[in-house]
Amino acid sequence: MATVITVRAPFAFMRRLVSARLHRHCCSTVQTACFVSRPHSYSLIAGQQHRFFRTSYVAARPVLQFKLSDIGEGIMEVTVKEWYVKEGDKVSQFDSICEVQSDKASVTITSRYDGIIRKLYYDVDSIALVGKPLIDIETEAGQVEGPQEDVVETPAMSQEEHTHQEIKGHKTQATPAVRRLATENNIKLSEVVGTGKDGRILKEDILNFIASQTGAILPPAPFQEIRPPPPAAVAPSTPAAKPKEKMSPPSIPTPVIPKPVFTGKDHTEPIKGFQKAMVKTMAAALKIPHFGYKDEVDLSLLIRLRSELKGLAESRGVKLSYMPFFIKAASLALLHFPILNSSLDENCTNITYKAAHNIGLAMDTSQGLLVPNVKNVQMLSVFEIAVELNRLQTLGAAGQLGTTDLTGGTFTLSNIGSIGGTYAKPVILPPEVAIGALGKIQALPRFNHKGEVVKAHIMNVSWSADHRIIDGATMCRFSNLWRSYLENPASMVLDLK
C-alpha cells in the first residue's frame, strides 16, 4: 500500500512535467476512478514517432500493449521469424521477445518492461507492422512506461541525452522509468548507488534506497528472468537464472545455523538419437544369458614388435597401434573356433556360422558409443587392418559413419583399456554371440621360466559369451589360442593367412 500512496501524491506535479510528451500511466484499480474519465490528450513533436497506450484494467494489474518499434531505414513491415516467449511467460526488461526479419536484416526485439506475456499478436512467418501491437504484457501495478529507448533516426533531439544528468560532474545513468520512480519518491539520483552496468542506477537500487530510508514494506522483487533459448543475443548484464546454493554463513560458536537450501531442479528430457539406439540394443542383449571368462596376457614381445614396425607403418602414412594385432589374432583364433563367430536365430532353433570375420570395434565418440566393424579380417594383413582402423576412426571423429560400417559385425572387441580399467564385463551386441574387453597395459612384476622376477607388460582380457551355445571350455581354449598368438607374435607369422 505504501507505494500506492507515494505514487499518487506527485502525479499533478508529474503531469506538468510531461505535458510535452505523450504518456499514459498505468494505474491500479484504486486510482481507476480518478483517471478513466480523463480525456485522451497528447501533443506531437514534429518528426517524432508517437505511441499510444490503451490500458485495460484487468483486476489490479494493467496490461500494456507493446508495439513494434521503428527499426530504421523507413521499413514498415517485418516477418516474425521466431518467438522466444509464449503466453504466460514472465519477462524482465531487456529480455529477448522475438526475432523479426526484414530485407536481410535480423532484428532482436527486447522487452521494455517486467511482466507476464498475455498475448502474442502474430504467428511465426506472419507479417508484423511497425507501430502496431506486437504483444500484451501484464505489468506490475505502479510500473510506468517510458519513452522508446531504441528509437532510431529521430531528427528531433535524442532522447538518450535526457537520460544523462550531470551531477557533480558525474553522469548518472538511469532509464526514464527509474528516474520517474526516484522523482516520485523525492530521491536524488546522486545519493543512490548504482549497481548496474557502468554504475547505472536500476529500479532495485531505488527500492533498496527507499527501504533503507523509510523501513517501509516494499513490493515483491522483480520476476525471475526467463532464460532465452541459447544462444540468443541478450544484453550482457542480464544474468541467467541458475539454481543457487545458499551457503550457510560460517559462524563462530552461535547455535543457530540456517539449513542450506538446495534449489536445483530435476531435469527430464526424452531419450532420443544415440541414447535411444543404445537402449534398444542393450534391451535386446538382456535376452542373452552371458557368462564371463577373464585372463591376463603378457604383451612384452608384442610391444617390442610394434615399436619396430611403427616407423615403417608411419612411412606408409598409417598410425599403427596394438589393435590391428589383437584383431588379427582374434580372426586367426576364430578359424579354429567358428562357433564364436556365429549367430543364433530368434527362436533358438538354428545356428548360423558366419563365413566372414567382421570384427567390430567399440568406439567412444563425442555423441556416444558406436561400433563400426572391419570387414573380412580373415583376408586382411595386419597393415591393411591398421589402414581400415584409421579410416573408421577418422569417420567416427567426424560423425560420418554410415550404415555399411555400422552393421554386419560378427564379433566385437572393446579397447576400454585405452581410457582405463583392467577387468570388465562387456555386454554382447546381438546378433553376435561373443565379445571381448581389453584392459589397460600395465608394467607388472612376473616370474619368468627361470623363476626370476622380470618386468612384464600385462593386459587383462574379459570375454563374455552366449551360454546357450558356447560353453566355458570353448571360450577358454579360444582365449588361450588368442593369447598365445599375442604372447609369441612369431607364431602368428606361421599361421598368417
Partner: protein, 372 residues
C-alpha cells in the same frame, strides 16, 4: 595479451593493459571510429568476434569497421534451411564446414578470395547505403573506370550484372551491424557446386530462400586488384567518410582474456542445435528408387529433428511391420545421416531378420540418408 597493429601504428604489450578487455581499450582510446582486422581465418571464431563486439562494445558514440577472411566455408542466414541452400553431402566430402550466422539474408560461400566487412554502429545511425557507398567509392578510387554500383537490395553489382557483394544485417536493442562480402578471387567452381542443393525440390519450407545471382571476381576484371589492396582502400575510404584517422588494429579472436566469453560464443556457433536445429519447420516429400522399387518418403522436420516419418513401400518388397519399425526408429532423431545410420544399425540388431531383408533395409537406409 598483445594487440598487433598493422602498417602505421604502435605495438601495445600486455603489461600496459593488464586488466582491460577489448571494450575498455576502445573506451580508453577515446576515438570515435576504429578499424579492425581479424587475425584468424576460422569462420566460427570470426562470427563470434562479430557477436562479441556487438554485445560488449559501446557503440552509441562510436562506429567500427572489421574486415575478415575465412578458409572455405558456407554460411547460411539466421532463418534459412541448409538442406535447401547448399549441397551438404558434397560439403561433407570436401570438408567444407557449414555455419549459421545471426544476421538475416541469404547463403554465401567464403574462401580466402572473399573479403568480409562488418560495419558496427548505433541503431540510430544505422544506414546500409552509406556503408556500401564506402566500398563502391573505395573501388572507384582505386580504378576509376570500374563500373560498380549498389542496388536497392543492398547488393553491389559489377557492370550492372554480376554480383560481387551481398549484404546482411543484425539489429539489437541499441546497436546494429551490417556485414557484406566482396568477391575478389573466390574459387567460382566450388562456389557454384556447393551452393546448389541436391534436395531443394523435395523440401517444402518457409525459410528465407536465397536468390541466386551470377557472380564475378574483381580479380577477373583487373588482375592487380588483390584482397590486401582492396582492404586497405576500403579502410581509408571508411576513415574519410566517417571522419577519423587511426591505424588498423589487428585483433585475434582467440584471446579469451581480451574478450571474455568469446570462446564460448564460438563453441555455441558450432553446435548442431544452432547450425541445423535452428532451421524453421519444413517437410520432405520424396520418391526414392531402391532396388527398382519406388519408395515414397514423407517426413516433417522441426528443430532439425524428425517429428514424423512415413513411408509407402510395396508390401511384397518389405513387410509393413518392418517398415513401421524402421520409421519409428527414425522418429525423434536428428535429421542427420550419422544419427540415422546409428539408429538403423541398432534397429537391425534388435529385430531378427534374414540376410536379404537386412540387405534391403540397408539400401532403404542409404536412400533415406541421401536426402539428409
Amino acid at each position: 595479451m598483445i594487440l598487433r597493429l598493422l602498417n602505421r601504428a604502435c605495438v601495445l604489450s600486455g603489461s600496459v593493459r593488464l586488466k582491460s578487455t577489448l571494450s575498455t581499450f576502445f573506451d580508453e582510446m577515446g576515438k570515435s571510429g576504429i578499424i579492425l582486422k581479424s587475425a584468424t581465418t576460422g569462420i566460427f571464431e570470426n562470427l563470434a568476434l562479430e557477436d562479441w563486439i556487438h554485445d560488449h562494445v559501446d557503440l552509441q558514440n562510436r562506429s567500427m569497421l572489421l574486415s575478415w577472411r575465412n578458409s572455405p566455408a558456407v554460411v547460411i542466414g539466421r532463418h534459412q534451411n541448409p538442406w535447401q541452400e547448399c549441397n551438404l553431402p558434397l560439403m561433407r566430402r570436401l570438408g567444407i564446414p557449414l555455419a549459421r550466422r545471426r544476421s538475416g539474408g541469404g547463403t554465401v560461400f567464403h574462401d580466402f578470395g572473399n573479403i568480409n566487412m562488418t560495419f558496427f554502429i548505433s541503431k540510430k545511425k544505422y544506414d546500409r547505403h552509406r556503408n556500401l557507398k564506402v566500398i563502391t567509392s573505395a573501388l572507384k578510387a582505386l580504378r576509376p573506370d570500374l563500373e560498380v554500383a549498389a542496388t536497392d537490395r543492398f547488393d553491389i553489382l559489377l557492370n550492372g550484372h554480376y554480383k560481387i557483394s551481398g549484404t546482411a544485417a543484425k539489429l539489437g536493442r541499441t546497436s546494429a551491424y551490417h556485414h557484406c562480402t566482396l568477391l575478389c578471387s573466390v574459387d567460382r567452381s566450388v562456389l557454384s557446386s556447393v551452393l546448389k542443393s541436391n534436395t531443394s525440390e523435395v523440401i517444402k519450407s518457409n525459410a528465407t530462400p536465397s536468390v541466386p545471382s551470377p557472380v564475378r571476381n574483381l580479380l577477373d576484371v583487373d588482375p592487380t586488384l588483390d584482397s590486401d589492396t582492396i582492404m586497405n582502400a576500403v579502410a581509408s575510404q571508411y576513415s574519410n567518410e566517417f571522419g577519423f584517422d587511426g591505424p588498423v588494429i589487428t585483433v585475434d579472436p582467440s584471446h579469451e582474456a581480451l574478450m571474455p566469453g568469446i570462446h564460448k560464443m564460438a563453441q555455441d556457433l558450432q553446435m548442431w542445435e544452432w547450425i541445423y536445429g535452428r532451421t524453421p519447420k519444413f517437410s520432405v516429400c520424396s520418391s526414392l528408387v531402391v532396388d527398382d522399387v519406388t519408395v515414397k518418403l514423407d517426413m516433417d522436420i522441426k528443430n532439425g529433428a524428425v517429428e514424423q516419418c512415413a513411408m509407402e513401400i510395396p508390401e511384397d518388397w518389405l513387410p509393413s511391420e518392418m517398415v513401421n519399425e524402421f520409421t519409428s526408429a527414425l522418429n525423434g532423431s536428428k535429421y542427420c545421416p550419422n544419427e540415422a545410420a546409428v539408429l538403423v544399425a541398432a534397429f537391425t540388431r534388435t529385430v531378427s531378420v534374414t540376410a536379404d531383408v537386412a540387405e534391403k533395409i540397408h539400401r532403404l537406409c542409404a536412400g533415406v540418408v541421401s536426402v539428409m
